[in-house]
């Protein structure tokens, strides 16, 4: 088992949390796009449109399968992108947006399903940190002996670091100053809760598995993208914050994101 796991567990050292401005500069493309203050990422048009409708001097740019709306919102230069609600599209769109528009902060917003049984529909969950809970390693079990997902072990993310290194992590950090702003917001139909935003390309409706994920990964909620966006932002040295309305509508999530923009300095 140990030898099997070492394929993914090997750690070369290095530590990437102190990434500096010059790091971001080195990512910049030959795009003529001027830098923005904030990247806003949401899964669907329905969650984006209320904010796009308020953009001053809006522009649309596209690249491959991804789309970007650039303009001024609440006095700040912003770019919005659609993540399609899955990790791959979310990470690709986030990478492109960071490279092309050099945001100082990434905001991932939308709805989520509760993992924490204390959460209620309409609560606003804001990110203390993020957990991409899709990593697993199973034990050696012979044919016809079944599969038991409640015995699987979690597999960490090996975050690439400069100098061909990697660092094993189970959580991606959220920006403390953005979290302070997020905590001042009002929840659409409930309370504001600080917690761990989990994501995977999964819709988990087995209660025992949800409890297992929460126990293993420390998640408060699940959605299709937030922690993966946070992992990408960590790789590229950009702070990130997550805003998730439990069982929320797109309109509720957009309203929360707009309030966050208005409250941000």
């Amino acid at each position: 088992m140990v030898e099997h796991m070492s394929r993914r567990f090997r750690i070369f050292g290095g530590f990437i949390f102190g990434v500096i401005f010059s790091f971001r500069l080195a990512l910049a493309a030959s795009s003529s796009a001027p830098p923005v203050d904030i990247l806003l990422a949401a899964a669907s048009d329905a969650a984006l449109q209320p904010l796009i409708a308020k953009l001053e001097s809006p522009q649309i740019e596209t690249r491959a399968a991804w789309q970007f709306w650039i303009g001024t919102l609440a006095g700040k230069r912003v770019v919005l992108t659609r993540t399609e609600g899955d990790p791959l599209n979310a990470v690709a769109a986030t990478t492109l947006a960071i490279r092309r528009y050099s945001p100082k902060l990434v905001v991932t917003y939308g709805s989520a399903r509760a993992h924490d049984p204390a959460l209620r529909s309409g609560d606003l969950l804001v990110s203390e940190k993020f957990s991409a809970f899709d990593g697993l390693v199973s034990s050696v079990v012979p044919l016809d002996a079944g599969s038991d997902s409640l015995t699987w072990q979690k597999l960490p993310h090996l975050v690439a670091t400069k100098g061909e290194g990697e660092t094993a992590v189970f959580f991606f950090p959220a920006d403390a100053s953005a979290l302070a702003v997020a905590k001042t917001l009002a929840a659409p139909r409930g309370k504001v809760v600080v917690g761990v935003l989990g994501s995977a390309a999964q819709v988990n409706r087995e209660v025992d598995r949800v409890a297992w994920i929460r126990r293993e990964w420390g998640t408060s909620s699940e959605d299709g993208e937030s922690a993966h966006i946070a992992g990408c932002a960590l790789l590229l040295g950009v702070p990130v914050i997550g805003l998730r309305v439990i069982d929320g509508t797109e309109a509720e999530a957009a309203a929360v994101a707009l309030k966050f923009m208005e409250a941000s300095k």
Partner: protein
């Protein structure tokens, strides 16, 4: 003078590198080692945390890229690599776990297609009713077609480039056999043989690893030709544990492939 120097540094940072014909990827140092060693006129550049080595192999301008493991690393680094080097072909290669019983250590699967097999939706089960992974419903990767505005689902994954496949199947693996097959990607190491059999039967997967299907999706979105090679580094049916040096086989195979590859 200081300002002029700073301005020049800034311009250098903004300018993308010269284009290459082939972007060659590996997730780990051992997976790119043989290929970097084969570069003529090697030069190293870094973008964020990711390392690239440019040069020529078989007359082709190439960039060899250390992608890092799994979706977050490989998706981020692939987008950066494409934006920086505008490749005509992407080769993703490295180690994998066998999912078909006939495969053994050092065999290479040339990916006629590659897919993400991790996305799923579970049935509804109440407290105490457990979790049944073999009953989960797969969810295919989707990509937006911006020309129509529609999200397109790729249930079978993404096909390898036909011309590159033909070259690969004429390329020698000096350490094992070569088969056309299906490569599945997820942030998973599956050693329960019933689940291995399930993913083999459900997706047609011959090997599992962590990057090819994701990179294939990105290549498709950009309209870039794509091929993946995966050497068997562990074979759960045979009880063969992970052997990291198997990466050498796919590295050498990739160098041979590039030498056989006609001008792009």
């Amino acid at each position: 003078m200081k300002h002029i120097v700073l301005f020049l540094v800034f311009l250098t940072a903004l300018r993308a590198a010269d284009p290459v014909d082939v972007l060659v990827q590996g997730a780990e140092n051992l997976e790119v080692q043989e290929i970097v060693a084969a570069l003529e006129g090697p030069a190293k550049i870094t973008i964020g945390p990711f390392s690239f080595w440019t040069g020529k192999i078989g007359g082709h301008p190439v960039a060899v890229q250390l992608t890092g493991q799994a979706l977050i690393n490989c998706t981020t680094s692939t987008v950066l690599g494409i934006e920086e080097f505008s490749p005509k072909l992407i080769v993703n290669q490295g180690t994998s776990g066998a999912q078909a019983p006939f495969l053994t250590l050092h065999d290479i699967i040339v990916g006629r297609r590659a897919l993400d097999y991790s996305a799923m939706i579970t049935p509804v089960r109440a407290v105490g009713q457990g979790s049944v992974a073999l009953a989960w419903t797969p969810v295919p990767q989707r990509l937006r077609d911006l020309a129509t505005g529609k999200l397109v689902a790729f249930a079978k994954g993404f096909a390898g480039d036909e011309a590159a496949l033909a070259v690969a199947m004429r390329t020698r693996n000096s350490m094992g056999r070569v088969f056309l097959g299906v490569i599945g990607s997820a942030h998973e190491v599956n050693l329960e043989l019933d689940r291995v059999r399930w993913s083999h039967e459900t997706f047609g997967m011959d090997v599992e690893e962590m990057e090819s299907g994701h990179v294939a999706a990105i290549a498709h979105a950009y309209g870039i030709r794509y091929i993946a090679f995966r050497v068997v580094s562990d074979a759960p049916y045979e009880g063969v544990p992970f052997y990291p040096l198997a990466a050498r086989a796919t590295g050498l195979f990739t160098v041979n492939f590039l030498k056989n590859l006609p001008p792009l």
